[in-house]
Symmetry: C2
Subunit: 154 residues, 2 copies
Amino acid sequence: MPDPWASLHQLLTDLDAEIEEVYAARGIQGVRPRFAYPLIRLAHTGPLTIRELARSLRRSHSAISQTVAALRTEGLVTSEPGPDARTRRIDLTERGRALVPFLEAEWRATHAAVAELDAEVPHALTAAVGEVRRALERRSMRQRIGDHLVEPPG
Amino acid sequence: MPDPWASLHQLLTDLDAEIEEVYAARGIQGVRPRFAYPLIRLAHTGPLTIRELARSLRRSHSAISQTVAALRTEGLVTSEPGPDARTRRIDLTERGRALVPFLEAEWRATHAAVAELDAEVPHALTAAVGEVRRALERRSMRQRIGDHLVEPPG
DNA sequence: CGCTGATGTATTAGCGCTGTTATATTAGCG
DNA sequence: CGCTAATATAACAGCGCTAATACATCAGCG
């Protein structure tokens, strides 16, 4: 028996793998799943700096800097010095922009699939996650575990 | 907006972090969360080979080999050549064995906390995961996404 | 009897995902 | 000039995986 949320972890891993398959089926090369959201975001907002993009995606600027470096390597974005020469404007290349319609379609389809799934089962996963989050705000997992912790003598 | 299961991912990450806090609160050093299950398993089964342990924990033998190497570095297990010189018997050291009662207590407490959580919310997470799994066996995520995929013209 | 090739086991290199901290660079600003 | 802000990069942490390698074993064959 693995840890209590191993099945949850496995589910996530499997879902991610299936997204990759959707990409592969479309013959999309060199686009890792983590690339999709930055690209979609940039398509909507126009050029952003690293920090703006990071805030927008709720990641650290360091993490985004690394992702953007990878995107640049794949020729999906450019990074031009901005009006303030400290900042750089991250913008889509033609190739990056061309990808966005599909990525967005996949994004919407995935959301729809999740919604379908939630409606199909008695215990909707999305609802469960939200409820657990709120329950943990009331009392943390650490506290809950502590309350149940019975240590054997010795 | 992150990907559809970003919140799920975040939840997992947070839960793992809280387990670490429980360890830290007990002053346990050098024991990463991934160490717990191999140690507990070995305590129940006695010495196992890498492959047996891997099967037992449903991990790749490669992953377990690496974990065992880390366990050895921490002085928690030994790895002696077995009767068949192809294999090695992984066994607990004194230090490893001494840890097991606490790790098991934490394990039980965590399960109890999860059960409590499941009972506390309208949509039990554990149930949701199982139901989603079964739903995906009926129709894969890949298919579901494909069915909802509407690509824009161009 | 000894070699050969198939199989099983373990390790290791390299990669994926996530993130962090620390440091260097450069620019803006008072 | 010195402080602050933005970015980039290196090194590291965690989790896992596959594929290649090394080695042992064993069956079969000449």
